[in-house]
């Protein structure tokens, strides 16, 4: 076969391009159906620094999973790896597999924009856009190609704000800036914004750590309401919070490695009840009883 005929053959029968995009719902062929998202032997590096190693976790659907552990154990890093927000940090790199709807989201064919569109995120400090409350909620839907009419958009905004338990407080001032709200209200606005794009999973990175106890309580109640529709993964420093709201808890610890790096690792992952009442590992027990950390 000459080169020309080879090229001709390729031109007439182009090889099938396997687009590895994420299926909208779980394929029946995928056997693991319980997990909303799972990690397999995940290592996260910042440059040469190994931040977290060997993370194997299955996050269940319609549950709240809490990630706890001492400072620097990499729980936030793990959370941010789940929707590729770590891509924003120069030098950050993920090894292993993060499986979502049967697809590894770190495959080169997967667009991180698509991942983030399905896995929303709420951050530690409330970060509403410097726009009106209405625009804050509607923008995510708009950019993601929401096809509804203006009144349907209004309905979507109302539903999201109701789900975030914010509607009654803001229904008369949707045109006001998101910054005009209190800290707790801003955080609920951010939650409303995240769920308005109709994601599968909502990641929350210490969502209540910047809030007062009453606002914290409202966020926790909200999480319990939301888990009927979304899978929620939350990072928290507050063990009581983890015990109050989560169904499963993963405990991470950090250890100085031989090369002098402080690398985080998963110690124990079980149902919250078991982890707090009968931890299998000594480290876990020490941590939850307050002997360190």
């Amino acid at each position: 076969m000459t080169n020309e005929t080879k090229i001709e053959a390729v031109l007439t029968n182009p090889p099938e391009v396997r687009r590895n995009t994420i299926p909208a719902s779980v394929d029946a062929a995928v056997d693991v159906v319980e997990a909303a998202i799972s990690t397999e032997d995940m290592n996260v590096y910042y440059g040469d620094f190994l931040a977290v190693r060997d993370v194997n976790l299955d996050f269940a659907r319609n549950e709240i999973t809490a990630l706890i552990g001492p400072s620097g154990c990499g729980k936030s890093t793990v959370l941010r790896s789940l929707n590729r927000m770590n891509d924003l940090i120069p030098g950050a790199r993920v090894e292993g597999v993060v499986r979502f709807h049967g697809t590894n989201i770190y495959e080169p064919e997967v667009d991180p924009v698509e991942v983030r569109r399905r896995i929303g995120m709420v951050f530690q400090k409330p970060n509403p856009f410097p726009k009106s409350i209405y625009e804050n909620v509607s923008w995510g839907a708009k950019i993601n190609g929401f096809k509804g009419s203006k009144s349907e958009m209004e309905g979507l905004v109302e539903t999201a704000l109701r789900s975030a338990a914010l509607w009654d407080e803001v229904k008369d001032k949707l045109g006001d800036s998101g910054y005009s709200l209190s800290g707790g209200q801003q955080q609920r606005l951010c939650i409303a914004r995240a769920i308005a794009t109709n994601p599968d999973i909502v990641l929350m990175d210490e969502p209540a750590s910047a809030l007062d106890p009453i606002a914290t309580l409202r966020i926790e109640e909200l999480m319990l309401d939301l888990k009927n529709e979304y899978s929620i993964i939350i990072v928290t420093h507050n063990m009581q919070q983890a015990a109050r709201v989560s169904d499963h808890t993963a405990f991470f610890n950090v250890k100085l490695s031989d090369v002098g790096q402080r690398t985080g690792y998963l110690v124990e992952f079980s149902s919250t009840e078991q982890l707090f009442t009968a931890p299998k590992e000594k480290d876990t027990e020490d941590y939850i009883t307050g002997r360190f950390g």
């Binding site: 983030r116 995120m121 970060n127 856009f129 009883t289």
Partner: protein, 469 residues
């Protein structure tokens, strides 16, 4: 979940007696306070020095821009008015009609001068004053017709200026600065009235003259300092600023967005960044030479307009146009524009970027909708400062080829031009005292223009940041 009480192994030594107490403490605090006091005094002195320097500058300029003058008219305006049968106490030269002014002019200038003036621009729509109809048709049909064939006829104020220039011919024979004029007015008037002064300058009359006046702002350039104005220079400067902004603002902001939001921190991008930082410190005359080599010479078809308007159709025959100069100034301020825009983008909290991306937005959507609006007031501030620098630049314009004497208003980007700094530079270089006075007046015009531009931009910025937050 009870927490065990932490046990800290404390050093048993007591360090508290090592801190000063009582009078020692007073003395120690006193010494620190005194050092603060000295620093404050020095900073205040430096500030006063700056204010003094600025005040001196302003004083010098204003001192030159107003003051007493001794004026000798070739023909007194009163005589002209009287010769036409009016009462000089009631009618001024400016009140005369167009016909009367042309009549005065025709009676005073030679036929040759009159013909030249008419060829530049006609006096009347319907008739000719100095030329015969036959010659007029002939010269208008020639290959190079004078401008008068196409231009609309002169208006009353234009002819009034001609009468002033050609008939009255006011000549300032001596000037005094503002402070002298206020404190020693009588002495100056007495000096002008003295026999000695009148012998040297017969008919000299004292007159308080504001060199910065409306006529100065609205008149074109002239050989006679008493009649010269800065209209062409103001229009030239405004045209330049327009071209500069249109070029440097979008290019600068786009480059800043790329470097700040998209560029990966690799060696190439670091090199680009370093070079931009260095370019901000390159002397402006170097940019002038760049403009001359590339914009004026190499890109002549583009900058002279012949590419768009056809060969020889451009207002200017070469690349020394507003477009070339504006682009040169744009290049000059581009590094500053980029750096300040980058600074403004960097000041936008990262949480906003994260918020956008976490919703499934692309980087550009996040930048366009959320980052840029927040950074815009900062970007505008940087741009205003950069533009203010461009407005005052002289050296690159000299190199690029600003005209030093031009009486025709710029009509577009392909016109020949002059600019305020060029005009000021050129006037200050002249030996006659009157040119120093009009240079001072032109500096005031430049300062006012600068302040107006800045104020507009600040108002614009404040409105922008208010509406966005």
């Amino acid at each position: 979940m009870s927490r065990p009480v932490p046990v800290l192994e404390l050093d048993s030594k007591d360090y508290s007696d090592l801190f000063p107490e009582g009078e020692d403490l007073q003395r120690q605090i006193g010494a620190r306070r005194r050092r603060e006091g000295w620093a404050r005094i020095i900073f205040l002195l430096v500030l006063l020095l700056t204010i003094l320097a600025l005040a001196t500058l302003l004083y010098t300029i204003i001192n030159g821009a107003f003051g007493m003058t001794a004026i000798v008219n070739a023909v007194e305006p009163e005589e002209i008015v009287e010769s036409l049968g009016y009462d000089p106490a009631q009618v001024g030269l400016a009140d005369l009609s167009q016909e009367e002014l042309v009549e005065v002019l025709a009676g005073a200038v030679t036929n040759n001068v009159g013909r030249r003036l008419e060829r530049d621009q006609r006096f009347f729509e319907d008739r000719l004053v100095f030329e015969s109809e036959a010659t007029w048709i002939e010269i208008c049909a020639s290959p190079e017709p004078p401008t008068g064939c196409a231009l609309a006829p002169r208006d009353q104020s234009n002819i009034l200026q001609l009468v002033n220039e050609r008939v009255v011919v006011p000549d300032v024979v001596q000037t005094w600065d503002l402070v002298e004029s206020i404190t020693d007015r009588e002495a100056i008037e007495a000096e002008i009235a003295s026999a000695d002064f009148q012998e040297r300058h017969p008919g000299a009359q004292p007159e308080f003259r504001a060199w910065l006046n409306w006529q100065f702002v609205t008149s074109p350039q002239s050989d006679v300092p008493e009649l010269a104005g800065v209209r062409t220079a103001i229009l030239g400067s405004l045209w330049l600023m327009a071209i500069t902004v249109l070029f440097a603002f979008p290019v600068g902001v786009a480059a800043a967005i790329y470097l700040e939001e998209f560029a990966k921190p690799n060696r190439v991008n670091r090199l680009i960044q370093t070079n931009i930082n260095n370019l901000a410190g390159v002397p402006s005359i170097i940019y002038g030479m760049l403009g001359l080599a590339i914009l004026v010479r190499a890109l002549e078809p583009l900058t002279s307009g012949s590419l768009f308007l056809g060969e020889g159709q451009g207002v200017s025959e070469n690349g020394r146009t507003i477009l070339a100069a504006g682009l040169t100034l744009g290049l000059l301020i581009l590094p500053v524009m980029i750096i300040s825009s980058q600074e403004a983008l960097r000041a936008v909290p990262n949480s906003l970027r994260a918020a956008g991306l976490a919703l499934g937005a692309t980087k550009w959507q996040t930048i366009r909708k959320h980052i840029l609006p927040v950074a815009m007031p900062g970007i505008l501030t940087g741009s205003i400062l950069a533009l203010a620098r461009a407005l005052g630049e002289t050296a690159p314009l000299v190199v690029v080829g600003a005209s030093t004497f031009i009486t025709v208003d710029p009509t577009g980007p392909f016109s020949k031009f002059t600019a305020l700094p060029i005009q000021i530079y050129q006037w200050t270089a002249r030996p006659q005292q009157e040119f120093q006075n009009i240079a001072a007046a032109a500096i005031l015009v430049l300062l006012i223009l600068l302040l107006t531009l800045n104020a507009t931009a600040v108002i614009l910025r404040n409105r922008y940041s208010r509406s966005k937050m």
